[in-house]
Symmetry: C2
Subunit: 279 residues, 2 copies
């Protein structure tokens, strides 16, 4: 099958590697508004060729949008306008606004809303890696509004990429990702800013940084081009979880201020229950 | 050299492995108030033998305290009372209170205050691993108050373990670790509590958890036995950094509330500067 990938960065490029490896794609066409990314994607062998969107779209059975969610919002309606037999998937991190936008489109059925729970803090075609999606979770949202054959193509892709498939509605998806993905990025950005700020007065501060620090701060390397649109789309959920997180930090601070170490101990014990989730 | 390790958990056990491997230790004696840990440490081959502290101390050239910092505070003065030629090191995560406590002890010179910037979120002898310290940073604090031969033994150990050596005073150490280690643990505990709390109303929330979440939350598995004494010892610094971190989160929240996405973008760009620190 000929597949067009719009956005040949970390996610689009890694998808290209896996789609080729799993023999889902016979030809991969890259589309990107950054010409340098297309050149690099070809050099890296991620895509076979590149061409203008319209042309690529006409030749493809599957078109995957792997661009920031504000880009999906802009492009998806135009693609649906032109869709005949093509299946269009996105892989964006928010879903409610996108699905709301196209819900009454006459070709809505050609679209499958997808979100692979995989990524790294890097971006661009050079960040593309094999096996990024292996054994990770793929969320398909509101599939009841997608055509049967479109869902089958998406499910087959999930299956061949050896991903775990989860069905969800968009509302649930955006709530859950706020809690297990979006907030992690905000805390990481805030922690980086906290420490970078302090570095100005205490220059040697990073000399002692080790694995624990790196672990909690690595997401702060993530691209604002990707993340600002996510926070914008999922603003209400992100504000809710941010409120709760600030509240938890303030509670821990109060315990420390009051030197209530017994309660602090118990709070850590409650937090330790995260062991049941993480290996 | 015969070395006694007090506390045969993650750090003490991992030290035992490396001290033996690097032929620094000929015999390793384990001391632990948890008998099961001693049995397990022997089974795992971490220690050669175990015996009561007094007996072990008398036979050793080097005694390493690898227990929570409140334990160091309790034991160190007693060990110094008995010290003749022994060198006593601790590997605790805070230094000011400990050094303050023993500063006028007649045998103060036998003690070297050390802190290896290495660890994992696990604890106990089964968490001990080879190479935990390889290429990590070891901080030695206020070495000018330690005897020359004691510092030499500590430096030789750092060298043979292939660690990077940093000298600091205790005040600097406690400030810096608050920023690059202690706060990471607090944000992780608070994030775990935030999400665990939400799970009660939205059961499937962890289905979508992936690498980013795991990265920011893994420290929340850390033991309260180790961490409450650290927060207690380093309370003022931890409160300062916690204040600043909450302030950063509140600023990001305000930008989102005001839908000031340009400033939000710039804040993320500033946070991205953490790239210069992390590989």
């Amino acid at each position: 099958m000929t597949i067009t990938i719009i956005g040949v960065g970390l996610i689009g490029g890694s998808l290209a590697i896996s789609l080729r490896e799993q023999k889902i794609a016979t030809t991969i066409i890259g589309v990107d508004n950054n010409e340098a990314n297309l050149v690099r994607a070809k050099e890296l062998g991620l895509i076979d060729t590149s061409m203008p969107l319209e042309e690529a779209f006409a030749q493809s059975q599957l078109v995957i949008l792997a661009i920031p969610v504000d880009g999906v919002l802009r492009l998806l309606p135009q693609l649906l306008d032109k869709a005949t037999k093509q299946v269009i998937m996105d892989v964006g991190s928010t879903k409610e606004k996108i699905l709301e936008l196209v819900k009454d489109h006459p070709n809505r059925g050609r679209y499958v809303a997808a979100h692979p729970m995989a990524g790294t803090e890097y971006s661009g075609p050079d960040a593309a890696i094999p096996n990024l999606f292996l054994h990770k979770t793929m969320v398909l949202c509101d599939v009841k509004h997608s055509d049967e054959d479109a869902v089958e193509i998406a499910e087959d892709l999930v299956d061949k990429l050896q991903m775990r498939l989860v069905y969800m509605n968009a509302e649930e998806h955006d709530l859950h990702t706020a809690y297990v993905s979006h907030i992690s990025h905000i805390t990481s950005f805030a922690l980086a800013l906290t420490v970078l700020q302090k570095e100005r007065e205490a220059g040697r501060i990073f000399e002692l940084a080790s694995g624990g620090f790196e672990s909690t701060v690595r997401l702060a390397k993530s691209s604002p081009d990707m993340w600002v649109p996510i926070f914008k789309h999922n603003r209400n959920n992100v504000l809710d979880v941010l409120d709760e997180h600030i509240h938890q930090l303030q509670s821990m601070k109060a315990l420390l201020e009051n030197e209530d170490y017994d309660s602090f101990y118990k709070a850590i014990q409650r937090a330790n229950k995260i062991k049941k989730i993480l290996k």
